[in-house]
């Protein structure tokens, strides 16, 4: 843990991410108005004292929409990271331990991985009406194969360790070996992977909404705000710029966190750093 706190990337990433999380939680208290309130007399305004980031085509306050948009992004990012980690861990351990399943599971994962993740997610959301749950489900399905692959390779290398051999010859049952020797050793790579999942999920969510296949259009999400600014970006760049800036900063925060954790948790990477 000492190695974690010494790294500036982790400190910067964690601070930025915490700030975004606070914005999301306290959105109603941050001088925002109703993010869905339409005001036809105040359409397409530039940033001003009254509307810090300007207004969109329906006269909605972009500052309020961007702050509330942090909620959607963070919920999607964190949920996908958790769900995909859990499923990936489960399938990865199954594949790593049960030889008969390995081939089948990994072929399925290879197949899913050869469908570009944004297209896979778009196709899955297109099946249903866009909603928070369907967006999270779709992105999770698109991300699980990557986690599975990482976990499976970790499990396969752990199985060759002398202490696992020792446990097997001592008559330890397979579930006990998984619990005692395998699971704890997957935590470090899984944590690092989860941060990248979170970053990638936030980007995919924004892309889904941006192309019109994500959250319902009235929901204030960064992708939706950008989608509204898409037609008029040449004259009103502020509509796409502010949500874009917040999205980039949040993804940057998560990536810094992930890079820092990777270097701190992987002694091999430290040597090269």
């Amino acid at each position: 843990m000492a190695a974690v706190s010494r790294r500036p990337t982790i400190a910067i990433g964690a601070t930025l991410f915490a700030t975004m999380a606070l914005l999301a939680v306290f959105a109603p208290l941050l001088g925002t108005t109703d993010p869905t309130a339409i005001n036809p007399t105040a359409r397409l305004q530039w940033p001003s004292a009254e509307h810090w980031f300007g207004t969109d085509m329906a006269g909605r306050d972009i500052y309020s929409r961007v702050i509330y948009g942090a909620r959607v992004s963070l919920i999607v990012g964190v949920s996908v990271a958790l769900l995909a980690s859990v499923f990936g861990l489960f399938i990865g351990i199954l594949a790593g331990f049960i030889r008969g399943l390995d081939g089948v599971l990994m072929r399925i994962m290879d197949g899913l991985m050869s469908i570009p993740s944004i297209l896979l997610a778009i196709a899955l959301v297109a099946l249903t009406q866009g909603s928070l749950a369907s967006v999270i489900t779709a992105i999770t399905i698109a991300e699980v194969p990557r986690v599975t692959r990482v976990i499976r390779s970790v499990v396969l290398s752990l199985r060759e360790q002398p202490y696992v051999d020792a446990a097997i010859s001592a008559g330890t049952t397979t579930p006990m070996i998984i619990l005692r020797h395998i699971l704890p050793n997957t935590l470090a790579p899984l944590t690092v992977q989860a941060t990248y999942l979170c970053a990638s999920a936030m980007i995919i969510e924004a892309v889904l909404s941006f192309v019109g296949a994500g959250m319902p259009p009235s929901t204030p999400s960064w992708g939706n705000i950008m989608a509204e600014g898409r037609a008029i970006w040449q004259v009103r760049l502020n509509i796409v710029l502010f949500p874009a800036l917040f999205l980039s900063l949040t993804v940057l925060a998560v990536n810094l966190l992930g890079d820092g954790l990777r270097d701190a948790l992987d002694p091999r990477a430290q040597r090269n750093a």
């Binding site: 099946l127 950008m226 970006w233």
Partner: protein, 313 residues
């Protein structure tokens, strides 16, 4: 060599099988009756029945799957609900813009990223290394549409140097074609450059610590010779791998880039199809893109043997 190619080719069959199964399931997982969806909003009940009969949609699912695969293998991807045109024709019409965009991005990304990665490894832990790696983190964090809009705003709206929207076919001249693709390629290449530069650096660092590099230096090989001949050739396998895997990023990114820059390619085709729930087009484009991805990675696998003759399948 022929047997290597054949074996690798066979290995792609199960992967494409899974892709095909997924794409096939899309229509059947969607709420509603497939025949009604495929016939479109204007269809009469008789039309729906005729279509159900023609496509065999009343048969058992495994049979339908095999029949569908058989049609796909013959390049029959069905008919677009919205336009009524064969999906294969729609895809062929959109190939040039998308391949131009992806090809140009690939070319300029590799030409930028590999030297950057080599420089960062050679200058490890100096200012230039840190600057390049910080740039790479940014590249991973700033999504393609953000880069796209900023580039278009600066170089098109403000400076007026390059067009912000649209596509010119190459048959109307090389320069108009290139001009329209410069900004989209830069936007799309941002993350790809970051990825390749990072892997190049890591792979080069590994190699630069080897004895044969010290030997090469000791016998007086020039710095450029050591870096680009002795080191880079041995560091090439991970780099080539990531160039292949990164094509998935290019494909996903192309969907967004084409939307931002209004390029009439496969990306805009699939986005429009999703908004119209035009399932045959969605299925066709996903199948096609996945096929391209698998094919490129097959080629990458075969390139390995050029860089590292020890690799044999």
């Amino acid at each position: 060599m022929a047997s290597i190619i054949l074996r690798r080719l066979l290995a792609t069959v199960p992967v494409m099988g899974v892709v095909a199964l997924f794409v096939f399931s899309l229509l059947h997982l969607s709420p509603g009756d497939p025949a009604t969806i495929l016939a479109g909003d204007q269809a009469s009940p008789a039309d729906v029945e005729r279509l159900r009969d023609a496509l065999g949609l009343d048969r058992a699912l495994p049979i339908q799957f095999l029949e569908w695969i058989w049609r796909v293998v013959q390049l029959d991807l069905g008919t677009s609900i919205f336009t009524g045109l064969p999906v294969t024709d729609l895809i062929v019409q959109r190939l040039e813009p998308t391949f131009s965009l992806m090809g140009l991005t690939l070319l300029f990304s590799v030409l930028t990223a590999v030297p950057l990665g080599v420089l960062a490894a050679w200058r490890a832990n100096t200012f230039s290394d840190r600057a390049i790696m910080a740039g790479a983190v940014l590249g991973f964090s700033v999504p393609v549409f953000v880069v796209g809009y900023i580039l278009a705003w600066v170089f098109s709206i403000k400076l007026g140097w390059l067009p912000a929207q649209g596509y010119r076919p190459i048959e109307n001249g090389f320069w108009p074609w290139l001009r329209n693709l410069i900004l989209p390629s830069m936007a799309l290449g941002f993350i790809y450059i970051a990825l390749i530069a990072r892997v190049t650096r890591a792979s080069m660092l590994e190699v630069l610590g080897q004895d044969y590099i010290r030997t090469a230096k000791a016998k007086g090989v020039s710095r450029r010779g050591v870096l680009f001949v002795h080191a880079l050739k041995n560091a090439a396998v991970p780099v080539v791998t990531i160039i292949g895997i990164g094509v998935a990023l290019l494909i996903s990114g192309a969907v967004v880039t084409e939307t931002v820059f209004a390029i009439p390619g496969l990306g805009t085709l699939v986005v429009d199809a999703i908004l119209r729930r035009d399932y045959p087009v969605i299925q066709g484009v996903i199948l096609f893109f996945s096929f391209v991805y698998v094919l490129i990675n097959l080629i990458v696998d075969l390139i390995y043997t050029v860089f590292d003759p020890r690799i044999r399948y």
